[in-house]
Structures are given as C-alpha cells and as structure tokens.
C-alpha cells in the first residue's frame, strides 16, 4: 500500500513540476513563435504582391484572404494560401492575384518536400517568375515542351509531376477564391 502511494506521489509531483516548467517556457516562447509566423506570412504576401504596402486579413466562408493595399490605400490585389499534394508530401503556396482576380501577380512556395534538384526547382526564381502577371481568365495551362502561350507556363524539365501539382493547386484554389469574392459582397 505504501509503495503505491509513493509511486502515485512521485509521478504526480513530477507531472506537476514538468507542467509548471513547460507553461513558463511556453509563456515565453509562444508570442515569439506567433510573431515569426506572422513575419513569414507578411514576407510572402509582399513577395507575391510587389506593390503592396499594407494588408488586412479577412475571413470569408472559412477562407483567409489577405487584402493588400498600396501606399495610397488603393486595393492592389488579394493574397491567399493554397495547398495540395505534390510528388512527395504537401506543397503549400502563397498566391497573389490582382484586384479583378483574373491575373496572377506572383506565387511563393511556403512549404514543399519535392526532390532537390528536380521537383525542388519549383522554389527557383525561374519557375516562380513565370507566374508574375500571368493572365489566368480560366485555368492556368501547362506545356511540357515548346513555348508557353498566354496563360500558360512551362513545366520544369524532368519534374513534370511537381510542376503539374503546383498549377493544379493554384487552379483549384483560384476558382474557389473567385467564387468567394464574387458572392462575398465585394
């Protein structure tokens, strides 16, 4: 009997001390972590919408959309995150679109575990820059070889699946955002 009491006592004590210590550390660290995440989002938004100077966060139908404004307070476009399956694991993107939502202004890769050297090239400037001011009235197209036309981008050599995944993720989320913005009172 005495043994059991001692066991329970020791474990409870340990749990209490550990819980106390952890709550102290997390009190200290949580605000910093949150600030880091905000900073990363801010950087990504300013990357995809070059002329943005400030932004407001709003949530419509469960989708977080960032309204970006320039220095004079004009609306320059919207940014939103999009994610989906890549060749390996999930790809998470920040997508920036113009105020009328028919032009993609730019994209940034927030998270991807594509094969380095092949699919990993989606992080590269030469792939991402294809999405700068890309006219996308319907869906964005993808060409494997030859020159891309209006509204199309060229796949990375040897990494067709990753390129396709990025385009598909953008197209899916773009149409969702379009319908949200057209019914969402804007």
């Amino acid at each position: 009997m005495k043994k059991i009491v001692r066991m329970v006592l020791v474990l409870t004590l340990l749990g209490l001390i550990s819980g106390l210590a952890l709550s102290l550390v997390s009190n200290y660290a949580d605000p910093i972590i949150e600030e880091n995440e905000k900073e990363a989002t801010r950087e990504a938004i300013y990357y995809v919408l070059k002329s943005a100077d400030s932004y407001e966060t709003e949530e419509v139908d469960g989708k977080v959309i960032y309204r970006a404004l320039d220095s004079s307070g004009e609306l320059v476009g919207y940014a939103f995150t999009a994610s989906g399956g890549g060749y390996q694991g999930t790809i998470r993107l920040m997508v920036g679109v113009g105020p009328e939502v028919w032009k993609v202004k730019g994209i940034q890769i927030l998270e991807s575990s594509e094969t380095p050297g092949l699919g990993g090239k989606i992080r590269g400037e030469s792939f991402k820059s294809q999405f700068r001011d890309l006219v996308a009235r319907g869906e964005i197209g993808l060409v494997k070889s030859g020159e891309p036309e209006r509204g199309e981008i060229k796949a990375i050599t040897g990494a067709t699946i990753s390129s396709k995944a990025v385009v598909k993720i953008i197209n899916t989320e773009l149409s969702r955002v379009r319908s949200i913005l057209s019914t969402g009172g804007e």
């Binding site: 050297g117 092949l118 070889s145 040897g158 067709t160 699946i161």
Partner: protein, 318 residues
Amino acid sequence: MESNQDSNYRLSYSPHIHTGTKTSEVMGGVALALIPAVAAGIYYFRLDAVYLLLTTVLTSLLSEALMLKILGKEVDLSDKSALVTGLLIGLVLPPEIPLYAAGLGSVFAIVIGKQLFGGLGKNIFNPALIGRAFLVAAYPVLMTTWTKPVGFDAVTSATPLAAARFDDVLTPLSRLFLGNISGSLGETSALALLLGGLYMLVKGYMDWRIPCAAFASLLGLSAIIWGIDPGSYSPPVFHLLAGGFLIGAIFMATDPTTSPVTKSGRWIFGAGVGIITVVIRAWGGYPEGVMFSILLMNAFRPLIDRFTVPAPFGGDRP
C-alpha cells in the same frame, strides 16, 4: 538426364559434371557478343561512345584491382568479369553523360555492387545495373538527357519510350530495329543486340530460357493491355524493341551469378522480368522499367531457387 545439345555450359544443382568451361571463357564470350552493340553505339554516337566506353571499362578494371588489393585477395582480372561489367555500364548510359559521372557509376558498381558482397559469384544484384541505379538517383537530370545520334541534328530529344508515354508519339519500328534513335548507348540497335544474343546462344554462354520467358511474358502482357485499349498503350513489338529491354533480357538477366540455377526457376525469373517491365512502363512513374524489374527479380532469386530445387533421385524434396 538432360541432353547436352543445346548447351555445353550450365549451372545447376548437383550432381555436376565438369565440362572444362571456365568463367573466363564465358565472360570472354559475353564480351565478344557485345561487340555488335558496341560497334552500333560507336557508329551512331562516334567519339562520345568511344570515350564513354573507355572510361567505364578502365575504371571498372581499376576499381576491381584496387578492391582486390585492399581486401587482401589475389589481384587477378583474367576472369574478365570486370571487363564485362564495364562494357555493360557504358552501354546502358546516355552517350552524352559527363565522363566523371560514368566513372563514378563504374566504381560504385564494382566496389559496392560486387566486391563488398564478396566478389565474383557472390553478388546479389547485377553490378552494372547497381551502377546505373546509383547514377539515376545521383544525377537524375544527366540520366534523362538524351541526344539523337550524330549525323542527324544533335539536339536533346525524348527516348522512344518517353515519347510514347508523355507525347503519344510512336517511333517507327524499323528505326528502333536498326538503332537510329535516342537512348542509352547500347540500347539503340535491336539488330546488334539480337546478333550478340544469337552468338551467345550458339556458343552456349547463356541459357535460352530466361530471355525466352522474358520475351514471351513481355509480348503477352503488353498484347493484352494493348488489345484492351490500343489508344493509351503501346503495341507489343514496340515494347520489345524500344528502350533497354533487349540488352537487359539478353545480357543482364542472364548473368549466371544473379539468376536462378534451376531450369523452372529460370522460366519464373524471365517471366518476372518481362511482366514487371510492362507494369512499370504502362503504369509506373518512369517511362522505362527494365532496370528496376531485373534488380527486383535479382532480389527474388534466392527465393526462386529455394522453391524450385529438384528432388534428388528417389528422395524427398529438400
């Protein structure tokens, strides 16, 4: 007992009768049988082919000698197996690959694929294919950049398999047969490979069962899926002639060390190679699947041998 008409060299379970044929003779014969393929490669790709083959053969021989020395064994290259490995690696690489990468593949093939497993006769996987697999993983871009043969426009272009898979373009069979296509150095000309295979068959350096089983299963399965949906799959003869299937089935699947020793086992082994190749080509992520299919079947070899051991006369199956 079996007649000796079709072959004067064979590996089998006991009882054994030694015919006097040595490893060095078989390996020398394989090297001779590769001459048409080497010649075709040099004809189509000129100096690139010469440099590439020199690199792979020399590095293979050198790393074999070095490893034997480090491991404290007798340094003896006269069994010619390192020569054959070097030739085969050169023949399954893209002709334009940088020479240091080709050399690295050969070193990997001999050191890790062969000597660290115990050397000649003890390796589980075909060393040349290990070298190629390493290069595919190490330099995926180099290993998928193909040039058209010299004398046409020397620009990069898709292999017939990749063209059929991704762009729905079928290369004419006559060009596949003669070899005027882009692809690995030795896989371009079906004619040259078949000539070599015929020579090995006549001289008895390989067992006809493995290539036969592989050809039959490849043709059979691809005919079935082509018959069901000719729009999305390639015809069977195309599968036979395109890509690395012939060089794989004739020269790599028949490697005596890494293929089963029993007759029924060889049928199973060859059939597996053909089926997995078609499966990977038709539904896998890569346009070509010969390398993986042979390596996979290599891994199954001990299992196949165990289940196909013949019963001793008057006894039970072991």
